[in-house]
Symmetry: C2
Subunit: 339 residues, 2 copies
């Protein structure tokens, strides 16, 4: 058994951000490692995940979950190796992906685990992105709610993003034509060059996103995988074909939902086009993780799925990597490596 | 074989209405009966259906179907007996429900038939309502898109209407609590007394439909069967429970959809509550008609489903019955009987 280092470096949330968390909201310390009690294990983190959702966790605004308490390690997904276990079903040497936080070590129960990492032939960092909630979200939402059929047209907002970059590839694998919406020419280049998109529209450069999207989708849209909502969503809904499916996976374009902002009414489109518009939250689908990760791993091995990573070394840099996310600086999954 | 009468009385659409069709838009004539050609049959109508959708068919505004040409018999559903057949699968003496128009006789092909009427122990008029598109819509949409589970709360807009009057009863049969939204105290009385609703809200008398609906649904809404859209829909969507289903079956509260009217944005509710919001048009489901009508007929025979009819005798009165529909005068399926 590897010997735990004597101290656990942690990135604590020590000030409550309004909006985007910046480095001044965090403080690094080093604490004693708490040995696992019965039913717990001790995991040594190898790689930390940096995700846009952490803004919501750090804020007080309430989202799916309670805000991170001040003075505790920043909530984060991570992948690491169990170094000591007193929990049934987990052994030293197992690699696990779960809620282990921005720290070197985490003493946790099995409830913190999202997935046991079994595909040891692939890089361990893949567990945080393509085999983590991003890839799992793309695969499960696209297939269960999107229900793709070959020949269909799939539109994805934030096409080059952490989820959209996989939806485009999964759409292409399913025999669909993927059309991306994204916010820079670099991202259009990545979407069409690497992420399976037949074409992509830059919504920031567009004077009329509805018109540009209509040109990109001359036969209409069968599946709209929406990560933004707002005007991009309005434009896409107007182009839906009869029987189309809308997968609502995010609402990134709208900063505030209280009170509800106004937009074009949707009832008539839903009715006359027989749309099926569904919301997707990945944590409802934990039971599907093992089989879906296995499918994604096979697609990686077969060279059918590509993934990009933006890896920074050193736990102390996690806060600046997070702040950079909101400036759109990264392309690929943002990861902080500890090993 | 019954002998056809020598002339076919018809109610022709002879002027194009703007808005509600009134008697001055129609003219009655009497024409020769055209004998069926090979592949056709001749049906004698017993009962004519009078439906709100006929407004859209008579107008030029375009809907699901082309407008009724001026100078032709008003498009309508009807039930009658085949008196002569040269079409495979149809014989003299068969009773059929279909697109036979406001006239005594119709020479038609099997494409005009929605359903062969097999439950001859029930009144033939039932084929136009509870066993016609109203009851079939309620049953198919509620069960396939609503996916009810016992104990759930179901809200229905136009609860005492031609479809809503069955959704309330089907919800009760499924073990759900049905809450109606309707527009008069008479309709509240019918909804709660006859149509299966545990309680109902009068949206015309309400000063705050959102607050009143929240009181009527203290645990939230699992299924929202929406026939109106608009503010009633906004109020119901705000009360949806996680995993709720919205069945969009009509948009009666909004008169014009070009350009799209504004309302509260829905993306966040769909996402965070994992809603499933689907549009339903009955004519997509013709293949399900025989088995669904058989289920409804069994529920009628078992005394589990009640239905109301508002029958007027005489083909010449069809236009005034139609005009009365839009004044909300009828309670129950509007039918014009010819026999």
């Amino acid at each position: 058994m590897p010997s735990p280092s004597p101290l656990n470096r942690r990135i604590l949330l020590t000030a409550r951000p309004q909006g985007v968390p910046r480095p001044e909201h965090f403080t690094m310390d080093a604490a004693e490692i708490r040995p696992p009690a019965p039913g717990e294990f001790l995991v040594r983190n190898h790689h930390l995940s940096v995700d846009p959702a952490q803004r919501g966790w750090a804020n007080d605004e309430g989202n799916y979950s309670d805000p991170v308490p001040l003075g505790t390690a920043m909530r984060a997904l991570a992948v690491g190796e169990i170094v000591e276990s007193r929990a049934d079903g987990f052994s030293a040497g197992d690699f696990v992906y779960g809620w282990f936080g921005w720290q070197d070590y985490c003493t946790a129960t099995p409830a913190a685990v999202l997935r046991l990492v079994t595909e040891r032939d692939l890089p361990l960092t893949a567990s945080l992105g393509v085999l983590g909630i991003n890839g799992l979200t793309a695969h499960i939402a696209f297939h269960t709610l999107g229900r793709p059929r070959a020949g269909e047209t799939v539109v994805v907002s934030t096409a080059a993003g952490s989820v959209g970059s996989f939806v485009g590839q999964l759409a292409r694998i399913a025999g669909c034509t993927a059309v991306g919406v994204t916010g820079s020419d670099d991202k259009i280049y990545a979407a069409t060059g690497r992420y399976g998109y037949a074409r992509a529209v830059n919504y920031r450069a567009s004077r009329d996103i509805a018109a540009d999207l209509a040109i990109a989708c001359p036969g209409g849209i069968d599946i709209f995988y929406d990560n933004t909502g707002g005007e991009i969503g309005d434009a896409a809904r107007a182009l839906m074909r009869t029987g189309g499916r809308i997968v609502q996976c995010g609402t990134a374009s709208i900063p505030h939902w209280t009170p509800l902002p106004q937009g074009p009414r949707c009832e008539r489109q839903v009715l006359t086009k027989r749309l099926s518009w569904s919301g997707f939250v990945i944590f409802d689908h934990l039971a599907d993780f093992p089989q879906t990760a296995a499918k994604l791993a096979d697609l990686i091995r077969a060279g059918q799925i590509t993934y990009d990573e933006d890896i920074t070394k050193g736990i102390e840099r996690a806060p600046e990597v997070l702040a950079g996310l909101y400036r759109g600086e990264n392309l690929g999954k943002a990861i902080v490596s500890l090993v």
